[in-house]
């Protein structure tokens, strides 16, 4: 049994139709509920809920404040490589894009890592494309081991691995995984991923479960905003989150909201998500999953990020560069996508403080996983 068995019970079109048919009464019932059921969640994602955004935001704020206080965890992405064998239509690293390819050496990785460490970061996210021959498990594990002394938490956002691969990662000091399903709609998934290992929808869908089995402590999920119908995608992401919280109850869940940005290849999102819809989605997710981390990246504009702060966000990236080697060198290689909020980490920290939030640089300790020192 896996989440695949759960999601299989739903017909995506029927979910869209049900959400579209929700009424103001359904939304009011959902807003009054302490815990949402599936119908309530659908109501909050529906067009009918657009008239209740302020109420949703107030409730999302109150829940987040109680559970997380006035704190925002800051992290930074570090791209190890832009090599990739996949051909995802929306991604700058797609094999079909004629861009210079680059994989950092361990020394170059450490050089970028030291820059991030000196900026204050203690939570780091390592990213790669999918090119197992050049950038495989051993390489990622070696990178994690090399930078481990500099960070209290290392997460990865790379190709899906088998459980044994994730165990290797845990042994190397990795404690978190981010893996987006991109789209929960299997048909759309097939269209957007015409070739490469990523074509396998089920293998990707079950990835967080393999990571949970291997003992990763933090798992982040999400879908790309702009690909499918955001309301039904959000519904499935919420179901997925709840499934993981129930089955991998020792692992902390987070949900990200990556909205598609301009990238090499010129892909145009078929279903763009407006700021209002973005807010609706985020608040609905908080009302469903009170205790999940909600993550916002530098994909969004500085102004929007500042305004989204009180609505349920608990983690943010800052000062990000999405090209390998990009922290140490200007124009090092092609980036995966263009970021929008280009403020420095110090500026972000200052803004958080000015808005009454404590920027948290460290909320984990590598010692939790260091079995050999016990």
């Amino acid at each position: 049994m896996s989440f695949f068995n759960t999601i299989q019970k739903y017909d995506p079109q029927q979910v869209i139709d049900t959400i579209e048919a929700m009424t103001a009464t359904d939304v009011q019932r959902a807003l009054a509920a302490e815990q949402l059921d599936n119908c309530d969640f659908m109501a909050l994602l529906s067009p009918a809920a657009e008239d209740f955004l302020e109420e949703m935001a107030q409730k999302a704020h109150a829940i987040t404040l109680r559970r997380f206080g006035r704190t925002i965890l800051l992290y930074a992405p570090l791209y190890l490589s832009n090599e990739c064998h996949n051909s995802c239509l929306y991604c700058g690293f797609s094999v079909n894009n004629p861009i210079p390819r680059r994989t950092l050496t361990l020394d170059e990785i450490e050089r970028d890592a030291r820059i991030l460490h000196d900026q204050g970061f203690r939570h780091i996210l390592l990213l790669t494309g999918e090119a197992p021959g050049k950038v495989g498990n051993d390489f990622i594990a070696a990178a994690a081991k090399r930078i481990r002394p500099l960070f209290s938490s290392i997460s990865i956002e790379v190709y899906p691995m088998e459980t044994a691969g994730y165990q290797e990662m845990v042994d190397a000091g990795v404690d978190g995984l981010t893996i987006y399903q991109e789209t929960y709609d299997p048909e759309l998934y097939k269209q957007l991923h015409p070739s490469g290992r990523k074509r396998n929808y089920n293998f990707r869908l079950e990835t967080p479960e393999r990571a949970g089995k291997a003992g990763l402590r933090r798992i982040g999920i999400g879908f790309l905003l702009g690909l499918g119908d955001f309301r039904s995608e959000a519904f499935f992401a919420g179901l997925h989150g709840r499934y993981l919280m129930h089955h991998y109850w020792r692992t902390l869940l987070s949900v990200s909201f990556p909205r598609l940005r301009p990238a090499e290849g010129g892909f145009q999102p078929p279903n763009p998500v407006s700021d209002r819809q973005f807010v609706q989605l985020m608040c609905a997710m908080r009302l469903l999953l009170h205790d999940a981390g909600l993550v916002l990246s530098t994909r969004e504009s500085a102004e929007l990020r500042d305004n989204l702060l009180p609505l349920g966000i608990t983690q943010m990236s800052a000062g990000s560069c999405t090209a390998p080697g990009g922290y140490a060198e200007e124009n090092s290689a092609t980036e995966q996508f263009a970021i929008d909020d280009d403020r420095t980490p110090a500026e972000i920290a200052e803004i958080l403080q000015a808005r009454g939030y404590d920027p948290v640089w460290k909320d984990w300790d590598g010692a939790f996983l260091q079995k050999e020192t016990g």
Partner: protein, 256 residues
């Protein structure tokens, strides 16, 4: 107010405070000062104990406060023990607030792993203050292995719901041979007063201070709540009754 004694050390305040969730170190300090607390707990995962310039730790004056490191985030006994050892090796006093919370959502303590860790840490010379569910039998087991307190939760952490586990906490207090500290879930000074009126030796508060509009003023309010509750307990509260009662309704005819 009478002194609180834990492991032979004397404290004037019966209010302990946590350091999570504050909007800044300055508001945290304001809450600590307002509360007049002398015991401050810090999550080891939030600080770098080896770094003398750690921004949170530098805000806690070791002359005024006993820094009580906690093991929150530990999933099992082994992880909690490892963190406690690291804190001591970094120069912290051997006091540890033992938290083993494998479920990162409700943060409820694991009774089995907590007891295992307590046993090891007590043997290693730590002064162990374990965070537990309000389970009287577990509380007895922990006292037998030598913990310095027991810290049952009033209601799940961060909920601000008050003393929901009242009946079991009353049993723990009645049976205790070490101080009982009601930890977690206390959302208002009246909740703290209630726990103290019941005979708890101390309370620990974090979320209620951190998310208050004015954490410093809320610290003062909790201080007063704790003091009122303690004094009422010592003064001897009258028992609660459902209806007014004449002094001798059945035997009054006898006269004096």
């Amino acid at each position: 107010m009478d002194k609180l004694i834990i492991a032979g050390r004397s404290f004037s305040s019966r209010l302990m405070v946590g350091t999570g969730k504050f909007s800044s170190n300055e508001t945290m300090v304001a809450a600590m000062e307002g509360s007049a607390s002398e015991i401050v707990t810090v999550a080891l995962r939030r600080v770098d104990v080896d770094n003398p310039d750690d921004s949170l730790l530098t805000h806690i004056d070791p002359k005024r406060y006993l820094l009580l490191p906690n093991t929150s985030g530990a999933r099992d006994a082994e992880e909690a023990i490892r963190l406690a050892r690291i804190a001591r090796a970094a120069g912290c006093e051997p006091w540890i607030k033992l938290e083993v919370t494998p479920d990162p959502y409700y943060l409820l303590p694991d009774p089995i792993e907590t007891l295992k860790a307590a046993e090891v840490l007590v043997k290693e010379g730590f002064i162990v203050l374990p965070y537990i569910n309000a389970d009287p039998v577990l509380a007895k087991h922990l006292q037998e292995v030598g913990t310095a307190t027991v810290m049952p939760l009033g209601s799940p952490i961060g909920t601000n719901k008050g003393v929901r586990n009242r009946d079991n906490i009353a049993i723990i207090i009645e049976q205790a041979i070490v101080p009982v500290v009601v930890d977690a879930g206390l959302g208002a000074p009246s909740h703290a007063a209630e726990a103290m009126e019941m005979g708890a030796d101390a309370v620990l508060v974090n979320t209620a201070l951190a998310v208050a509009r004015n954490p410093g003023a809320m610290g003062v309010a909790f201080k007063k709540g704790v003091e009122a509750g303690r004094e009422a307990y010592l003064a001897g509260l009258g028992k609660q009754q459902d209806k007014a009662e004449a002094s001798s309704p059945l035997t009054g005819f006898l006269g004096k």
